[in-house]
């Protein structure tokens, strides 16, 4: 258990937990603002972003792709805002139009350009490669304090850690304006709060979380974590602070339980192979939501 666990499991577990929390935190506000689909939109437009990043840089490096993905996410956010305002359509429609169009453009780009050297396929985009993020330099628990071994940690861990920290800092510092403008936009404006800027900042932070998480764990987790833990948490409590706390708890639970079940669940059931951790994490988050929908103490819609 010891050395194997440190080398094979600890990094994917931590990355899974950080990705889940980084998406679930802003997800609370997105769900309450009826913008939950933003996570879906962002994780789709990451594809054209990666392709363009590759074409511009000419190499299949991580940074061009990350920058391309982030830029695409921001373009998508602006497009959604623009379509909503100019076309006077509801947010859901604007998001749907944006992410399908950009995703389709990404597929065309991919076909037309020589990207065969890039490790980019649908499967990777969906499930990520959580299980492959192993810590080769680790020899046991002692490696956790061994600087040389720590230097060999997968770079995805650093990126998702920075993203998660950024998300936590944003939610912490912007808590009051976020809460007021989410609940009552008109009142927030009447207090002089920059409501539009707050809304855009929330989406941009969500985009950064989504791109960092996508890089490590694929889009299934991103989409699920933006919606399932916050939606489940809403069914457990009637207070915003408590909802956000519960959503973090559910995100961690999904990541840990999903990872363990994916690795060992099939074996316990007598099957030979383990299944995709990303798929299992998303499934667990869905099950948590189902349980809360049936038994959550705050599930009764108030009239």
């Amino acid at each position: 258990m010891g050395a194997d666990f440190v080398a094979l499991s600890i990094v994917p577990l931590v990355i899974g937990v950080l990705a889940a929390v980084a998406c679930a935190l802003p997800g609370n506000f997105l769900v309450l603002r009826r913008q939950a689909l933003i996570g879906d939109a962002i994780s789709h437009v990451v594809l054209p972003g990666i392709v363009v990043g590759f074409l511009v840089a000419g190499v299949a490096g991580t940074w061009p792709m990350l920058i391309g993905a982030t830029a695409a996410a921001l373009v998508a956010v602006l497009m959604i805002e623009g379509i909503q305002r100019l076309g006077r359509v509801e947010p859901g429609a604007a998001m749907g139009v944006t992410f399908t169009t950009l995703f389709a453009a990404g597929v065309l780009l991919l076909e037309q350009s020589d990207t065969s050297s890039v490790h980019l396929d649908v499967e990777h985009a969906l499930y990520g490669n959580l299980e492959s993020l192993i810590w080769i330099d680790a020899t046991g628990w002692g490696s956790l304090v061994d600087l040389q071994a720590l230097a060999g940690l997968p770079p995805e861990l650093t990126r998702i850690s920075v993203a998660a920290l950024g998300v936590v800092a944003f939610v912490w510092f912007a808590w009051r304006p976020l809460a007021v403008s989410t609940f009552d936009e008109g009142f927030a404006r009447s207090m002089g709060l920059p409501v539009r800027a707050i809304g855009i900042a929330l989406v941009v932070v969500s985009a950064l979380a989504a791109v960092a998480a996508f890089d490590a764990v694929g889009s299934i987790i991103v989409i699920a974590m933006f919606i399932c833990p916050p939606a489940a948490a809403r069914l457990v409590t009637n207070r915003l602070v408590a909802q956000v706390a519960w959503s973090v708890g559910f995100a961690v639970l999904s990541a840990v339980a999903g990872y363990v079940l994916a690795g060992y669940g099939p074996i316990w059931l007598g099957f030979g192979n383990s299944v995709s951790a990303a798929g299992m994490i998303a499934t667990v988050s869905g099950l948590i939501l189902a349980v809360c929908a049936i038994a959550g103490p705050a599930r009764h819609a108030t009239t």
Partner: protein, 268 residues
């Protein structure tokens, strides 16, 4: 002579010259897309007055209020509050939006909503202290809602929700109160409670402006009236402006003459 305006905890905020207006609007035009909603509105509200904004559905009453607060962007027009540009004067303004404008299923309790009124004081990260909580409870007390402090807001009746919104505005400790349909869809007890609070505010020298749609209560509740139907029809003391002729012009002949006579009998 000057009137000293004081916030609810008794500290003097500013003194305004008696003659200066609490709210001055000039040439306010707002359009949603291509359609103009209100056109070239001028409005003057005197300090210590209680003004009803009255007009038919779609006359632009709420839009005017939102434009005054900068919630919707006007095409043109200026707003001055206590002789200052709106931006500077916002801390002296409290706003009660239409009850239907928010999602009452939002995960928050009554006391949390009232605390939003203290947002300016608390800042981004200021700790909520006992005296803040006491102020919020005091505001709930004034609208008769103390026992509901810990209730989720969705569990309240329409009238109770409206009182919570009023309590939040009280917590803002403002000098000018702008209310959008505070009596829409509320029970009689709530209406009485709200009007009592508004009259208290007026007695304390505050200025109140409310979008109002129940013509029969205008003379009882308000000192002044602002008649609007996309443009300004008239403004002034109730006894001068709230007349059958003026209402007829405002509503474009859609009110029966007998109805008008009955409504304004007390006033004229």
């Amino acid at each position: 002579m000057t009137v000293t305006l004081a916030s609810s905890d008794g500290t003097a905020l500013a003194s305004a010259p008696d003659a200066g207006a609490a709210l001055t609007v000039r040439g306010m035009t707002v359009s949603y897309g291509e359609t103009p909603v209100i056109f070239s509105i001028d409005m003057d509200v005197l300090p210590g007055s209680m003004t009803a904004i009255v007009g038919p559905n779609g006359a632009g009453k709420s839009t005017l209020l939102k434009a005054v607060l900068g919630i919707v962007k006007p095409l043109s027009g200026t707003v001055r509050v206590f002789d200052r540009p709106l931006r500077e004067a916002l801390p002296r303004v409290a706003y009660v939006p239409q009850r239907a404008s928010v999602d009452w299923d939002f995960p928050t309790r009554v006391i949390d909503v009232v605390m939003m009124g203290l947002g300016r004081e608390l800042g981004l990260l200021g700790r909520v202290r006992a005296h803040h909580r006491a102020r919020a409870m005091d505001c709930l007390e004034r609208v008769g809602m103390t026992e509901f402090a810990a209730r989720q807001i969705g569990q309240l009746s329409g009238g109770q929700q409206q009182r919570v919104f009023l309590a939040r505005a009280l917590a803002q400790g403002a000098d000018l109160y702008l209310l959008d349909e505070p009596f829409a869809g509320v029970d009689a007890a709530t209406e009485a409670a709200i009007i009592a609070v508004l009259k208290e505010l007026r007695a304390a020298g505050k200025t109140v402006v409310a979008v109002h749609h129940d013509l029969s209560t205008v003379p009882d509740y308000f000192s002044d009236v602002f008649l609007i139907n996309r443009t300004r029809i008239a403004q002034g003391p109730v006894e001068d402006v709230f007349t059958p002729e003026m209402l007829d012009r405002t509503y474009g002949g859609r009110l029966a003459t007998a109805q008008l006579g009955g409504l304004t009998r007390d006033a004229v």
